[in-house]
Each structure stands twice: as structure tokens, then as C-alpha cells.
């Protein structure tokens, strides 16, 4: 049978003092490294959140811009407010963009479900000199803002679409 005391007497192992020093060293290192790991895992999550938000915002923006470009003449614009834009495209199809809660709505479809509230979508209507206008027949371009949230991150994109099909 093994006798535990036999091994404790061995000169090759650590002494009590050595063990205490080691435990202290390892503990201090663990606390530091643990702090680093924690910080960087948070940073990583935050990067991922932003990445998702940027991706969503790009998707939404590309869709809105692409469709506004196809709007059929200035008279085809029906609702022009800062929060809603509806128009008829060159194929005669009615398209309506607005925000409903955290959802970006295209007609009755939900394109994105992570818009910021209360303002996640904004339109400004510009005339031929890029000044804001409320007169439908003067509108030449529409500026769009999208505010998208992912976790505690908020991403804003801003772009414009020129109306291609205006008959002057």
C-alpha cells in the first residue's frame, strides 16, 4: 500500500512556500487574463452586432434607393412625408415605404425588423437645386435616412435617389 507521507518527503516536489508563490502567481495572471478575455469577448460581440446592423441598413437602403429610382414621373408620387414615401413605379405598381414600430414596411411586407424607434426612417424631398421642397412637381431627388439597431448599437445610413423618369 502506498503511504502518502512517503511522497511528501520527496525532495523533487514543491515546498509549501513554493506552492504558495505559484498559486499567488497563477491567481494574479488568471485575474488579468480573465479581464482581457472578458473585455475582448464583449468587443467581439459588439463588432458582430454592428456588422449585423450595417448589413441590415445596407439591404434596406439599397432596396429603397433602387425602387425610388424607378418612380414614374413626379405626379406618380402620392404620399410624401418625412416618415412615409409612396409612389407608382414605371410598371404601374404602387410602392409604399414606411415604419411600423421597429419594422421597415414595403407595402405589407416587412423588410427589416430592427429599425430604431421612434425614428428609424426619414425622407427629405429635394428640388433641382438640392433644396428641400414640399411641391410634388418640383421633386428631383429623395434623400433617405435609415437608423438600424442591433443590441446596444445604432447604425445610420444616409443616401439619395434621383428620380429617373421625370417628363419635363
Amino acid at each position: 500500500m502506498l503511504h502518502p507521507l512517503k511522497y511528501n518527503n520527496s525532495r523533487n516536489g514543491f515546498t509549501l512556500v513554493e506552492t504558495v508563490i505559484l498559486i499567488t502567481l497563477v491567481s494574479v495572471l488568471t485575474v488579468f487574463l480573465g479581464g482581457f478575455v472578458l473585455t475582448f469577448s464583449r468587443a467581439w460581440l459588439s463588432i458582430q452586432g454592428r456588422d449585423t446592423a450595417v448589413g441590415s441598413a445596407r439591404f434596406g437602403m439599397n432596396r429603397i434607393i433602387a425602387e425610388i429610382r424607378t418612380a414614374n414621373t413626379t405626379d406618380g408620387l402620392s404620399t410624401i412625408t418625412t416618415s412615409e414615401c409612396s409612389f407608382t413605379d414605371i410598371d404601374g405598381q404602387s410602392i409604399d415605404y414606411k415604419q411600423n414600430g421597429t419594422s421597415l414596411m414595403r407595402n405589407t411586407d416587412i423588410l427589416l425588423s430592427n429599425l430604431s424607434t421612434p425614428e428609424g426612417l426619414r425622407f427629405t424631398y429635394l428640388d433641382a437645386l438640392s433644396s428641400p421642397t414640399a411641391t410634388k412637381k418640383n421633386i428631383r431627388a429623395i434623400r433617405v435616412w435609415l437608423y438600424v439597431t442591433a443590441g446596444d448599437q445604432r447604425v445610420t445610413l444616409e443616401s439619395s435617389a434621383r428620380l429617373r423618369n421625370i417628363l419635363q
Binding site: 502506498l2 512517503k6 511522497y7 520527496s10 523533487n12 516536489g13 514543491f14 513554493e18 508563490i21 505559484l22 502567481l25 497563477v26 495572471l29 487574463l33 482581457f36 475582448f40 468587443a43 467581439w44 463588432i47 454592428r50 456588422d51 450595417v54 445596407r58 437602403m61 434607393i65 429635394l126 433641382a128 437645386l129 438640392s130 428631383r140 431627388a141 434623400r143 435616412w145 447604425v155 445610420t156 445610413l157 444616409e158 443616401s159 439619395s160 435617389a161 434621383r162 428620380l163
Partner: protein, 139 residues
């Protein structure tokens, strides 16, 4: 059953153990140092993305203007969330035969360059969009 003979196996000395810890720490530190570089890169990419959209905005708005009203714009900041982004517009007359070379003019073609820069990451590149505007009427 054969008894394990632990007595004859030499353990680590304190010095050896500390050396091992130091080496592991250096390796770990290197790993973290590599990881840290990801954060500014992600910011840089996001700022490039935003600048592409802002450049598109300016180019769409310029193209909706009439030929005569297209003018140079000195460095101007965007508003709201993008107040740390800037744009400028530079145009030159070009001849229909060579659209990349500036001529004295006047001609019916303006080559318009829109530059967008700035953002939180200073080393992020300037985005340039070049487009052509013409006063030629299509019948």
C-alpha cells in the same frame, strides 16, 4: 499490481514553472494583440461603407441638377449623424473625344468628381465618385 514509482520522477522546479508561465503569458498576449487590430479594422470598413452611400447621395443629387448649376463645392461637412464626414465637388470641362482630360471649354460635357472623407477612423481612405454630366438634349 505494480506500484507507481513517483519518487524517482523529478518534478518541475519553481524556476521552470515560472518560465513556463511567462512563455504562456507572452503567447497569450500576442494572441490578444492580434485580436485588438480587428476592432479598428471593423470601424474602418463601416466608415468606408457609409462613405460609399454618402458619395452616392451627392452624385444622385448633382445629376438631378441642370448642367449650368453644377458648381465646385469646397470641403463641407454633412449634417446630423455624419457631421464628422466631409465632401467636396470638383468639375472640369471635357471634350467628347476624351472624357478624362480637362479642357478649357466651354463644352457640353462636365466631368464631376465627388470626394467623401472623414469618419471616426482617420486612416480610412477617401471615396471618390466620378461622373459625367452633359447639356446635350436627347430628342
Amino acid at each position: 499490481m505494480k506500484k507507481p514509482c513517483l519518487k524517482n520522477k523529478p518534478g518541475f522546479t519553481l524556476i521552470e514553472t515560472i518560465m513556463a508561465i511567462v512563455i504562456i503569458s507572452i503567447l497569450f498576449y500576442t494572441l490578444i494583440a492580434i485580436f485588438v487590430t480587428i476592432i479598428p479594422r471593423a470601424q474602418k470598413l463601416e466608415s468606408i461603407d457609409k462613405k460609399i452611400y454618402l458619395a452616392q447621395e451627392k452624385s444622385e443629387e448633382l445629376l438631378s441638377r441642370s448642367f449650368a448649376t453644377i458648381a465646385n463645392v469646397a470641403a463641407t461637412s454633412f449634417s446630423g449623424d455624419f457631421s464628422n464626414y466631409y465632401f467636396s465637388v470638383d468639375w472640369t470641362y471635357v471634350a467628347s473625344t476624351e472624357l478624362n482630360t480637362a479642357v478649357v471649354g466651354p463644352t457640353n460635357f462636365k466631368r464631376v468628381k465627388i470626394s467623401v472623407w472623414g469618419g471616426p477612423e482617420n486612416n480610412s481612405p477617401t471615396i471618390e465618385v466620378i461622373t459625367l454630366v452633359t447639356s446635350v438634349e436627347v430628342q
